[in-house]
Point group: C2
Chain length 168, copies 2
Amino acid sequence: MKLSGGVEWALHCCVVLTTATEPVPAARLAELHDVSGSYLAKQLQALSRAGLVTSVQGKAGGYVLTRAPELITILDVVTAVDGAQPAFVCTEIRQRGPLAAPQEACTRPCPIARAMAGADAAWRAALQAISVADLARGVDEDYGPSALAGIRTWLSPTDGDSAIVEQG
Amino acid sequence: MKLSGGVEWALHCCVVLTTATEPVPAARLAELHDVSGSYLAKQLQALSRAGLVTSVQGKAGGYVLTRAPELITILDVVTAVDGAQPAFVCTEIRQRGPLAAPQEACTRPCPIARAMAGADAAWRAALQAISVADLARGVDEDYGPSALAGIRTWLSPTDGDSAIVEQG
């Protein structure tokens, strides 16, 4: 079982966007993360399609979160990038072969499918319990407030009057 | 995120083997499930490598579970077929780019990796809490004892004196 690699990049972008004071161009996010702009753009588009970020147009344009980071869960980001499909897909093996269960006796998922669905629900519940704001708080706890503040400064437009410089 | 399709077949085989009174040839399991013998053999070999089933040689040979089905969890089967690798693999994005965290400051997993590991642990715990015996009990509960008993009869050697016929 493997999650799409894009999930990790998308989560990092969301955490970074919690600290930005202005829209952040995709190219700037790619530069910060030292990753291909086209690859990161794909993840940002997935976040945008899911309504988690939006692209502000114009000279000072770029990506912003569409709502407070407390209201964006890890599950939201995972689903945006990796889809909502559960890890286990039942193909109704019980309905195959010489002793197949008749279709009308299979209205309820089989015990295997129920067990796998239960594990999937536990996984999703764990991801839904943690928000992007929690992740940003975790960065502050691990590295002190200067880490995200440093990113905020680095992201700020550098053209004189609009530059915002903060000390960590 | 997607589990290997082999997981479903392997789980069905394990449940079937709980009811068998004799070793079951791979070809017989394939026939019961109406699936390609070579494909199912691959899943049985994975179960065998993980020590969950063993192949008894000889004329009346075939696969048997190596221990009581109460002692084989769904997680055992999933790990045997799909591997033990967690769904999320951290690539240390925090150590990239112009504001990279120095390696010596990254001894602890980052908040994102910790959150994903927590969800993975919840998923594994759910799969570890349910045994193959529980699954077989679930089939009995759903379909009555005649379903697995019917499979047991069907699997039994048909050569006269070794045939075991039970009523469900």
